[in-house]
Symmetry: C2
Subunit: 375 residues, 2 copies
């Protein structure tokens, strides 16, 4: 029995020119960071010590907030931020997008551990806009905005909408929290500094393994009293480890190396999306990316699209994605984020890939026919 | 203003022969583990992948349980174990020692996140014994035993008491959970394997940074369905990181190197405690250690004891502790755990330290006098 998922993954892994991301998520990522580091440096100890405090201060400055706290994960960091705002207002209700990470990827930790009720704003196809907030019927302690909205291809509200939402929330006593897992990736499009964007928010979370490419880890930033309170919850969650330095060292190194390259990644996404949009039955969302990421949608079965991708990988050595997700019988998509790898893919290789893909999309009738033909 | 705490820490850090532990908690610990490791090895991904699964399986076998799950911290791991047993029984009440880690070091995470009520068994000076369990008035879902009881110098119940408690709990439908942060350290005294001790318990937690000396990390082991459920809660807590391998690699290396050396550490503790017990006004708890750790109590102010230690460190180059805790005006203590360092301290250095300490305990009247004399 031939499995399309396995074949696609295998074909992708064999391509000498994978296009997305920075590189493999292997142990070398940590080795590269740790090897250059002075072994005599003392570990952080349960959240204290220069190795963690210095990095927290550095990122607080970048984000324009008085204080920042390093967490092992964004899941932990964001639940805690929302919990603090709920406790402050005495109201355990928050609002966010129906495809928020907290709603779909965290096994309902926010509800099961913190008993916080959620109001879902906007529909699944678009970002939260000002009218969604104005029409909120129930009072909430906090509104969480994810910039960019990852599950819909990295879409963004307009910056003026963002400013209007921020002003409205301040007026109404609703705290605004930024899920900025990919904050640095959107700054070139907005043409703003991190500090400018963060000034619209009461609390901010950023990740160090997505666009930054570290091993893991997150920062939450805000006022000093907010940061202090978040450390108590970090202990309660079991995130106040005796040593977080493996993540901090790799976060710091990769942040320094990549935060200045976000404009390149964004431009790469715009360029690559345009090439996909020239293929028949294929469109990107957004049509023109606003960050380093986008989704590639194809109006065909995921088996057929997968077969066309596999054939194109094999013919050209260029890899786009290790998996495709079916939405319905004749619709599927994958997501792609651009990073360091893109520059290393020769332009003629990319061109040959898209030529092959266009041909394969026409010639491969379906997956069964492809399997019969190729094996 | 001279501060005793700072002086003691400084004097300790300058000694060429620190006696306790395995070595400094510096970045070199990670470097040593990671350097020898193949950089091409792929990261674990949110709890999956050979690098995490293989280690979980290895430790499950050591503990004699069907399944094991790696966690970033014991705080997270144990709250989750107790939560699962409470949910199974439909009763949010557990019993443990008044000095349990969950009661005094976790900012009440168990209560604040899981709303679990606690019954404190035994008094603060001794371990939980069979009569404490027999006299339990309220029903509980789970009884947690910490072996050894760290906050009272690493004391242990007799093994026959342990077996009787286990049998009673099984009869009464009370789950028995082992806080085995230092499980491997007690096996030489009990003369049992890890698997034999764990067979008395429904769930077991072990740590990889205490006696094992890794960077951080913990394992919880039990039946397969228990392990599966714990992974859901791990995700909810924010502990299901994209990459836990930095902790796993160092845990695995240090486990292999040290798990067979626990008898040496235990014997070292017995030897060293005997030397402390020969000093006037100084006693160890337990009088004869049952693991690699013990407490050193002195019936004098912590300033005076600290001054005598500082003088002895400076005269001999041997360091015992970086801090002393005052209990009341004329009582103080510190704790010490023996590890790799002990063998590297020449016996004549140790002897000279205890000679100096005995003299200094007699000659130093109090801290002020010491400061006036030495500076």
């Amino acid at each position: 029995m031939i499995n399309i998922d396995e074949l696609l993954l295998e074909a992708y892994n064999e391509t000498p020119y994978p296009v997305g991301g920075h590189g493999k998520r292997n142990v070398q990522v940590l080795k590269d960071a740790i090897m250059a580091f002075d072994g005599d440096t003392m570990s952080d100890m349960y959240g204290d010590g220069p190795i963690i405090a210095d990095f927290e201060k550095k990122i607080a400055n970048v984000l324009g907030k008085p204080a920042a706290v390093f967490f092992p994960s964004g899941t932990m960091a964001q639940q805690i931020a929302l919990r603090i705002w709920c406790d402050r207002k005495g109201l355990k209700r928050v609002a966010y997008h129906p495809l928020s990470h907290l709603e779909i990827h965290e096994k309902d930790g926010l509800k099961e551990l913190h008993h916080i009720e959620t109001v879902l704003l906007a529909d699944k196809e678009r970002t939260i806009e000002l009218p969604d907030v104005l029409e909120l019927k129930e009072d909430v302690s906090c509104l969480l905005l994810e910039l960019p909205q990852r599950e819909i291809g990295g879409q963004l509200p307009s910056y003026s909408d963002l400013e209007a939402i921020s002003a409205y929330c301040r007026e109404k006593g609703i705290r605004l929290h930024l899920d900025g897992a990919r904050l640095f990736e959107i700054l070139p499009y907005y043409g703003k500094t991190a500090s400018e964007v963060c000034s619209l928010f009461d609390s901010v979370y950023v990740s160090f393994y997505k666009g930054i490419g570290g091993v893991a880890g997150a920062i939450v930033a805000g006022e000093q009293d907010f940061a202090d309170e978040s450390k108590i919850w970090k202990r309660r969650h079991g995130g106040d480890l005796i040593s977080l330095y493996p993540y901090i060292i790799s976060a710091d190194k990769n942040f320094d190396e990549r935060v200045g390259r976000m404009a390149h990644y964004y431009e790469a996404a715009v360029e690559l999306a345009a090439m996909f949009n020239e293929c028949e039955s294929v469109v990107t969302k957004p049509a023109v990316p606003v960050s380093n990421m986008f989704h590639v949608h194809a109006s065909m079965s995921y088996e057929k699209f997968g077969a066309a991708l596999i054939a194109s990988y094999r013919e050209t050595g260029v890899g786009m994605t290790p998996f495709v997700r079916g939405i319905e019988d004749e619709a599927c998509y994958f997501d792609i984020s651009l990073g360091d790898r893109y520059e290393g893919v020769p332009k003629e290789k990319l061109a040959s890939f898209f030529k092959a893909l266009q041909t394969n999309l026409k010639e491969i009738a379906d997956f069964d026919e492809f399997v019969a033909r190729k094996l």
